[in-house]
């Protein structure tokens, strides 16, 4: 159990259980001990990459937790998933799911078409890989209302398919911008 109302409190609690001092965590997370102190008092928030290093350190002391549990508590949200070795903030937990197989196939086909469009516009393999993940990332497919204090609700398959077209604006414009910048150099 990763108890505590805030990330700092949870971190402090786990460090205490593991017999870790600020310098121990600082070495593992490759930061100054003063930074660890700021994390523990919630003055600063470590990013997920640092949290992953702390999770590894705690594991070496026999304490099992996760980046998510540290940031949100055991029953916290499923946001900002980042496993050790991944890229922090990159994507959510999984690829978007569709209720029907047909819709899923249509989505995959459409993303392939878009990838072809980007490739023809000069996108490299890394860009195409990112674009495919971005267009099908589950976190991009949940309606929300009311801003930061709002609620989310599921989208229908048809809404998800239409939404891919909206999301495609992001890789399309970024690719155009990169080319424009490239021509200017």
């Amino acid at each position: 159990m990763t108890a505590g109302a805030s990330l700092g409190e949870r971190l402090t609690s786990l460090m205490r259980r593991a017999g870790l001092k600020n310098p121990d965590v600082a070495i593992a997370a490759r930061v100054d001990a003063t930074t660890v102190s700021k994390w523990r008092t919630d003055v600063q928030q470590p990013d997920d990459a640092k949290l992953a290093l702390i999770v590894d350190l705690l594991a070496s002391r026999g304490i099992t937790t996760s980046v998510r549990a540290l940031r949100y508590g055991e029953n916290g949200g499923r946001a900002v998933i980042r496993e050790p070795g991944g890229v922090p903030y990159m994507f959510g937990a999984s690829q978007v799911e569709f209720a029907s197989t047909t819709a899923k196939q249509r989505a995959l086909l459409r993303v392939q078409e878009l990838a072809l469009e980007f490739a023809e516009a000069g996108a490299d393999d890394d860009f195409l890989s990112w674009a495919r993940q971005f267009l099908l990332n589950s976190d991009n497919f949940a309606h929300s209302i009311g801003g930061a204090a709002g609620k989310s609700f599921d989208m229908s398959d048809e809404d998800k398919l239409q939404h891919i077209e909206v999301l495609a604006l992001v890789p399309r414009r970024i690719l155009e911008h990169r080319h424009k910048k490239g021509r200017q150099k």
Partner: protein, 133 residues
Amino acid sequence: MNRIAATREQQLDRIVAAKRRTHRELRRPLDWAGFKAVCEREEVLVELAPLDREAMLAGYGGVWMILINSNEHPRRHTYRGAHELGHLWAHVDQGPLGRYEACYHMSVEWPDDPREDEAEFIAMRLLAGPARK
């Protein structure tokens, strides 16, 4: 809005103050034209589109884009954009890879994420303008 530690507020205010030195549009309450000008200078792309949420921030290879929900009333667009700029300045720019982070956005569970409060804090500062003349 949840609690933000006073020292963190000071850090966020320092970020806003630095940006006010760079962008004259931030020396008064931010409007849509000012937001667009700031984004252009920061090389942040802005698009209005029928999104599933109020706004989102995403980027690849150092190029960042703010998407704002075109279905929302235009009166709110500046606020939504300012919130995303808050994420960019307070979280992306301060992150380990800076603007070369592959992609950034908050999940659907964002009410729990303290970084949302920080982005809101910056948005409020931008919309309100400087405290002193």
